[in-house]
Amino acid sequence: MSNNEVELLLVEDDPNDVELALLALRKHKLANKIHVVRDGEEALDFVFARGAYAHRTKNGPPKVILLDLKLPKVSGLEVLKAVKSDPRTQAVPVVVMTSSREQRDMVEGYWLGVNSYIQKPIDFNQFQTIIRDLGYYWLVVNQSPPPEAFRA
């Protein structure tokens, strides 16, 4: 039903986390159109279709971005800020997934307009459950913003 080239953008530098996230998503058949970027810069290139992703101009934005905070080069919060302060992208739902329990990160994230903030639980069972619920919600349940929401 979706015409998005990519439904879910996963921004995560840790390969273990990438693997575990994909494992969980796959297990629940939610990993159809997933793209993984490994740092903040790459994430922004993808979102704003520049650099290596310049060819993506014709394609719509992902249904949801799963964003880690601790990223090389450009931090997760900086990525969040860039996405949420640009009228072309600010309608894209962004879900922060982080190991950090730092309150100030949470505060900052909400100030910048994050749509959801999740702490990665250490227990893998819980992790799997969260990934499943999250994917289900944002990719299936949630009505994604219509194209009009993305002003050029």
Binding site: D17, L20, K120, D123, F124
Partner: protein, 737 residues
């Protein structure tokens, strides 16, 4: 005048009456004589008629009586006494007596009745009856009355004229004198004088009277002046505060003034006549004899002694004793004037003592004390000043103060002193003066601090300065300033270091939170995947190892979380607000519900106060303590946990008590250290961070925590919080479950 007139009239009346009576008596006798003569003649002529019984002749004879108007009636009786003839003939017979009676005459009703016997040859032949009225006598009497009245009026007139003349000459001056005398008597005014009206005897009398008045006036005036002086003297004596006493040569008291009464307490009535020795001190028995000796020699003595009052109190007096002489110059007694100088003596002693004390203070003072007079000459220079200025006192006295002031300050100092004198202030503290410098005798300058006071004694300005050598203090101050500056520098450095360390710690914590947790998650995740997805190919026992790996990661995860919490509490600012602790405990109990399911617990939640605290952190305190209590009572069939608030000896504390396994008090000091555990992990799970966290929170709230316990006898944790003592009365609640 009236008296004179009355006398005159009386004399005249008496005289006139005497003459009239005499004349009337004389005239009546002559009238009787004349009647007798007429009767004798008529009797002679009637004899014949009687004898012959010739009635006609008898009537004719009687009729001849018509010539005499005095005869009002006449009759002839015969020898037998029968009426023979009558005159006048028509007169009724009843007008004549029946029997004529014997001869003689008698008065009857203002008439004279005369009976004349008629004889013939010596034989009585009848009786002639004559009745004569006294008309001539009355005529005569009326005449005399008229004359007497005329004389009386004439006399009165003459008397009036004479008395008037006399009055003008004599009575009036005398009456004037009498008036004056009365006025003088009544008014007591001796300055009145009588007016001299003539140069005769009364004039002399007036002069003499006036002279007498003048003399009396002079004497009265002299007397009055004497009296004035006397009362003035008496008033002076009486009003004097001094005791003024007169005594005779036997030392008996003769006079006693009010001052004496006040001073000695005796009143005049009880002391007069008493010996003066009553007032004298028994310690000085020979005193009165010496005084008497002096008085006899006529000398006046001044001396100070003691006197004894009525109440036995001894007072000090200054005494002046002087002799009293009679008009002949003999000493007859003495007067003594005493003044109470007890107070003065006391004041003098006080002054002496004060002076001694003051000089002691000045001498032993640590500060230099220097007094100067108005010309800036030194009058006081104490031991400390000697030491400070390296100058002995004998060299300093009389010297100008300038000698001890550095040249460049002298002018300013003089101006300062003058200004100070003008302000009228009496003292100025050290701090109020500009810092000044002193000059030692050897030329060394040094900093001093000074206070100054100024008094005026007998018109003399005296300035006293108190000086303190502050060389040492200056040095100390400078050192303190230098040290302070150094310290500030060091504090700044340390603060910078600390800030850096803090920042480092923060990023470390952040790293721990993020980086340390990630590998843990991964270990757990892959173990789980291995466990689930590869179970078929794993050798026996691998599943158990995988579980151990996962349990360890879980434990480490808790540890990391607790440590992060502890670190955060250390950095976090307290957000204090009024918090009812009872409410916090309720919340904690609700959170513990799951953990306590299936167990028998008895909660005793005593009334807890509301206090100012960070509710989030305070909740952690109760959460830790209560979950500990729940945990360590697990072996008890009935767990009893008590939460309460104690107030004892002015201290107050909150406490959590349980009947759990307790611990040995010899480890009590390790109780609140990080990672300190008293039980094996198999018995009671835990990270060993909880009580360290509680301790940190309590200390951040200005309180402290301690515990009392015994092995298997339960444990009680007490903690205080700043402001707990002022907390309002705790809420009343009790709860059991």
């Amino acid at each position: 005048m009236a008296v004179i007139m009355l006398t005159t009239v009386a004399v005249l009346l008496l005289t006139t009456a005497a003459f009239t009576v005499y004349d009337l008596v004389t005239y009546r006798q002559s009238l009787v004589h004349s009647l007798s003569a007429t009767a004798a003649i008529l009797a002679d002529h009637s004899t014949a008629a009687l004898v012959q019984r010739d009635e006609r002749d008898a009537r004719a004879t009687l009729a001849s009586l018509r010539a005499d108007p005095r005869i009002v009636a006449a009759a002839l009786y015969d020898g037998q006494g029968n009426l023979f003839a009558r005159y006048p003939m028509l007169a009724p017979v009843s007008a004549f007596p029946l029997v004529p009676g014997q001869g003689g005459y008698r008065h009857e009703g203002g008439r004279v009745i005369l009976l004349e016997p008629v004889t013939e040859g010596g034989v009585r032949v009848g009786t002639l009856y004559l009745k004569s009225d006294l008309h001539p006598l009355y005529v005569r009497l009326r005449f005399y009355g008229g004359v007497a009245l005329l004389v009386l009026f004439g006399s009165i007139l003459v008397a009036l004229v004479i008395s008037n003349g006399l009055q003008r000459r004599i009575t009036r001056p005398i009456r004037a004198l009498a008036e004056v005398a009365r006025a003088v008597t009544e008014r007591g005014d001796y300055s009145i004088r009588a007016r001299k009206l003539s140069r005769d005897e009364t004039g002399l009398l007036t002069d003499a009277f006036n002279g007498m008045l003048a003399r009396i006036q002079e004497q009265t005036e002299a007397l009055r002046q004497n009296e004035e002086i006397r009362s003035l003297l008496a008033a002076i004596v009486e009003s004097s505060d001094d005791a003024i006493i007169g005594k005779d040569m036997d030392s008996r008291i003769l006079s006693w003034n009010a001052g004496a009464e006040r001073m000695y307490g005796y009143n005049a009535a009880e002391i007069l006549g008493q010996p003066i020795t009553l007032l004298q001190s028994p310690d000085r028995p020979e005193e009165e004899a010496r005084i008497l000796e002096e008085v006899k020699r006529g000398g006046i003595r001044h001396f100070e002694t003691v006197r004894v009052c009525k109440d036995g109190q001894t007072i000090e007096v200054s005494l002046t004793v002087s002799p009293i002489r009679n008009p002949c110059g003999e000493v007859i007694g003495s007067s003594s004037i005493a003044r109470d100088i007890t107070e003065r003596k006391r004041a003098e002693r006080e002054v002496r003592e004060n002076r001694a004390r003051l000089s002691g203070i000045i001498g032993s003072a640590m500060d230099a004390i220097i007094s100067v007079d108005a010309r800036q000459r030194i009058t006081i220079f104490n031991a400390a000043a000697e030491k400070m200025f390296h100058c002995p006192v004998r060299e300093a006295l009389g010297q100008p103060l300038d000698r001890f002031i550095p040249e460049r300050f002298r002018e300013a100092h003089r101006g300062h002193l003058a200004a100070f004198g003008r302000t009228g202030a009496t003292s100025r503290a050290m701090g109020n003066l500009q810092p000044v410098s002193g000059l030692r005798a050897d030329g060394e300058e040094f900093p001093i601090e000074a206070s100054i006071s100024h008094i005026e004694v007998g018109g003399q300005q005296i300035y006293t300065v108190i000086l303190r050598d502050i060389t040492e203090r200056k040095r100390a101050e400078e050192q303190i300033q230098r040290l302070n500056a150094e310290l500030e520098q060091r504090v700044e450095e340390r603060t910078a270091e600390l800030t850096a360390a803090n920042n480092e710690l923060e990023s470390f914590t952040y790293s721990v939170a993020h980086d340390l947790r990630a590998p843990l998650r991964h270990i757990d995740a892959f173990s789980k995947i291995l466990e689930e997805d590869c179970a078929a190919v794993l050798p026996q026992g691998a599943a158990h190892y995988l579980q151990n790996i996962r349990r360890s990661t879980g434990k480490m995860s808790l540890l990391v979380d607790d440590l992060l919490n502890l670190a955060r509490i250390g950095r976090q600012e307290l957000r204090r607000q009024p918090t009812p602790l009872g409410g916090l405990v309720d919340e904690v109990l609700a959170d513990l519900k799951e953990e306590t399911a299936g167990r028998t617990l008895e909660w005793h939640i005593l009334p807890l106060p509301a206090i100012e605290c960070d509710p989030g952190l305070m909740k952690q305190v109760f959460a830790n303590l209560l979950s500990n209590a729940v945990k360590y009572t697990r072996p008890r069939p009935v767990a009893v946990i008590e939460v309460g608030y104690l107030k004892k000896n002015g201290d107050s504390a909150l406490f959590v008590r349980d009947n759990g396994v307790g611990f040995n008090m010899k480890y009590a000091d390790k109780l609140f250290g990080v990672f300190q555990r008293f039980h094996r992990a198999e018995e009671f799970e835990g990270t060993g961070v909880g009580l360290a966290t509680v301790d940190r929170i309590v200390r951040k709230h200005g309180g402290h925590i301690w515990a009392e316990a015994a092995v298997d006898r339960g444990a009680t944790f007490y903690f205080t919080v700043a402001g707990l003592e002022q907390a309002p009365d705790p809420e009343q609640r009790e709860m059991a479950a």
